[in-house]
Symmetry: C3
């Protein structure tokens, strides 16, 4: 049982390991881990950590709030191809651009966190300008502490990112990616801590995005649905076919659906995305007590514009901060209090595990007829 | 015939050549080329490429949208001395500063491109704040791919800069500077591509700026003028002397004139700027079918404040984006479509070539009496 | 008498000394000086200079407008612990964030300058958004020239920072820190120059901040007060106890007081901050003709939120730029004109020097009964 820890970055000590590359983390095993600073264009200075557990390989980006940039199961890429060619250094992402939508200039990850003060639609503040920019700031803040460790057959990467403004929020994200030798995926364990001596509120949404080959014409999403509500009239147009994907279509405008999902006795639920042949896919498992809201984002224009879908478990729906606050969809934290969030991402590369996932979802949904609202609903969506 | 290409930067491969310096690019010839990353203050991390064709030397700035920072013909500098001491790293240029004028904190180039979504005066958006900041974003975006090549006696530098936001614009500038052994200047060949599967619109204006020694008291500009319109009452004050420059004057407020220029059968026109003795100057040649609008900017305060004039061929006049759109002065691009822009900058260091340039302009203008409007005109200028 | 100068940074020459570390600056003496570039998180790329005069050690941050980050007298730290863990690179400080308060994301220094175009409360501009963001821009601009020199037993560090926008301000700060062998503190000599050929206006406020161990329950501030005015009703609540500090208290809202201070015939005044036992403290001495306004900021929440007080000599009070302009509290500079500001910071580590400082202040105040306004006053504060 090997057990070792490496501190890769620690701003407090001005420590930043440059040469941590391709080190075997456990002898006789196929784990590998490398740190790299990207160069050129808007990537200049972006730190990445690549982990390979022998089966699944993935890249974490400490410079971008510990986002998960992309994964590969053998040669199959997991993630999507944004028209934004990232990972983009936060210095090039103008979150505070007047439209409130500058976040979109850095968006190309497989998984990025939206929060911590807010996520969702931009919202104007009292002085003009968007006080709450689209999806918040955490995805564009760098980790000030990053460590890797191996214990037995499990490798983990942890990064600490502070979203802090003197006189305002003092929130800390401690994000951990764990993967075992041969695991077809990765497990995420996040903690958010209120560092303040005063109470605080926070929001967190995981924006988990997939393009081809998982989505394609005829791909489907499956989930144990209790309730589904379209976000707006555009989403309402497609509510009856929410489960399936079309081929890329020029000028496609995004469709967004809000869900309550069913869960097992342990609070855990399961969402599956699978290709048209049910021969590959991805599963997401998480605790609905931690992440009670689920959002599905369908955005299937032509490929150069970003053919992608997002599975988005969150503490809230991505409406404006004040609307979600009015609905009580924020997490309240006492002084020094922490809250934990766990997610498991599994990649399926055969029909058997896709089928097993479908059966697991069917078991969770058994006996429940989904309530499908044909139109936006008060309390769920803003008019 | 030597023929060679060097990739200096390629973000997709995280390639960024640090040590490409003073390499002779063609044996037995005087070409040289060097890449350098500047250090200190707001220059920190700015990449530059210096090209010397044996006669004319110039510096291109990939970090600033492939701008042309400054040139030198022997010891004579071509460019200007801004109170901004650049080249300034885009991270220090707050394009989205509330006044919409943050662009001015990075402005010190001989030639910078204004665009691609918009250029011209800042324009407020629906959420408050300037949706279209002064002169757009392209001059403050870094090239993600830069290559140099030599073929025979011609050296060229190409950079690719994307102005892209997911769900919004997906425009690509491919900027090329070409120069031949001994050429007293440089030729620019730009392409703008709509990477999207949907149609797009774009604007481009070349802000080409000269200070002393080319401009001085009695310096003049010459062009084959069809029509001239002052931008505002301040410009109208000086419309009768639009062709000549005054000595530096404290508190001078800028004057801007909009032109239609005449061109030859090949569509090409010619603008000359010459000193008071007609002994040196610069010529600009370009295609009016690509760049139908010409703007002259006169800004002649005391030297510490930036004694400078701008010759500005563009797809449009630098009015607000929506006004220019209403006048049809935008370029429409279909999905995947490209448009090309070419410009030639020649530096004159003797009376003979100045005189030859004047004759060429006179020939283009022959038989046409310029229409000089004493006041701003509807459709040309915003009130 | 050794005499030597080292240029550490000069952007004009692209010079940036990486390896200037721990060099003995004067043989046989205990001076040391080192330059270091910090790594990791929001510190990435921040340049610091550490000076040790054998008794007092301090860190200057050229990247942050030549701020004074922290000092140490033997093992006693002078400064404060902000929830912001700096020094923060300006690229992560969104001065132009819509609230106008982005400056607070970089604020953790012992001494930072607020200015030069403006300081104080954010003020909305005509286009929406805060034209004058909180405390101005100078603290988040990098020095483009930095030099160290030693002459006899005095070491000095000088940095030059330009706050310049083409067509707008052209202000230059030349900031110098001087310290002698064994001096228990540091002397600051700043010059602000109007580089323009036109007249200009400027403001400067020194935000000098102390946390534990100097402040604690029962700590006190002493100054030769002529007049004191609370900034707002919140400050008015505590005006009778303005001189003393409470223990950290959850949810404490800041209290701010504006002062006219008395001075000696040479124009110099003296402010003392001392702990509850009068056994240690800090003195500030400066010229009231240069810095006629004094502000005291009391912010004593629980320690994770930043238990701190600020002593703030300035050309003005930190009200909005236009209000202070109406009161004439701006410095007018002719073309090319300079103005000088001097400040001395002394750290007390024994009861004797604390007592001596108190006597000096008492002498300045002798015969004057302070005018204490119980409420905000017109002309002093905005309603």
């Amino acid at each position: 049982m090997a057990s070792e820890t490496w501190v890769l970055t620690d701003a407090a000590q001005s420590l930043h390991e440059e040469d941590f590359e391709n080190r075997e983390v456990s002898e006789g095993q196929d784990f590998s881990l490398s740190r790299r600073t990207l160069r050129g264009g808007k990537r200049e200075g972006v730190d990445t950590i690549e982990v390979d557990n022998g089966t699944f390989r993935f890249v974490v980006v400490p410079t971008r709030g510990m986002g998960l940039w992309r994964g590969w199961l053998d040669k199959t890429e997991v993630g999507w191809h944004s028209p934004v060619k990232g990972p983009v250094h936060p210095n090039y992402v103008t979150l505070n651009e007047p439209s409130g939508l500058g976040w979109l200039e850095g968006f190309d990850e497989l998984l990025c966190r939206c929060g911590l003060v807010s996520n969702g639609a931009p919202e104007l503040g009292p002085g003009g300008g968007y006080q709450y920019p689209l999806h918040g700031r955490i995805a564009n803040l760098p980790a000030h502490h990053v460590a890797a460790s191996v214990e037995g057959d499990e490798l983990s990467i942890t990064g600490v990112v502070d979203e802090t403004r003197f006189l305002f929020q003092k929130l800390r994200l401690t994000a951990t990616y764990k993967t075992r030798l041969g695991q077809k995926g990765v497990t995420i364990v996040d903690e958010v801590t209120n560092l303040s001596g005063d109470p605080a509120e926070m929001q967190l949404l995981y924006h988990i995005n997939f393009g081809p080959p998982v989505i394609e014409s005829g791909a489907r999403v499956a989930a144990p649905v209790k309730t589904i509500v379209p976000r707006d009239p555009r989403a309402a147009e497609g509510v009856e076919t929410w489960e399936s994907y079309q081929a890329p279509q020029a000028g496609f405008a995004e469709q967004v659906y809000f869900f309550k999902l069913l869960a097992g006795d342990d609070g855990r639920t399961h969402v599956l995305l699978k290709d048209a042949h049910s021969s590959r896919g991805v599963s997401l498992r998480y605790d609905t007590r931690q992440l009670p809201c689920f959002t599905l984002w369908k955005n299937t224009p032509l490929e150069p514009d970003g053919y992608v879908t997002g599975l988005e478990p969150g503490t809230n729906y991505p409406n404006s901060r004040s609307f979600e606050g009015e609905q009580g969809r924020v997490v309240k934290l006492g002084p020094g209090e922490k809250v934990k969030f766990e997610l498991e991402l599994e990649v399926h590369d055969d029909a058997e595990t896709v089928s097993a996932a479908e059966q697991q979802i069917a078991a969770l949904a058994e006996g429940t007829v989904p309530e499908v609202f044909p139109k936006p609903q008060p309390g769920w969506t803003q008019t």
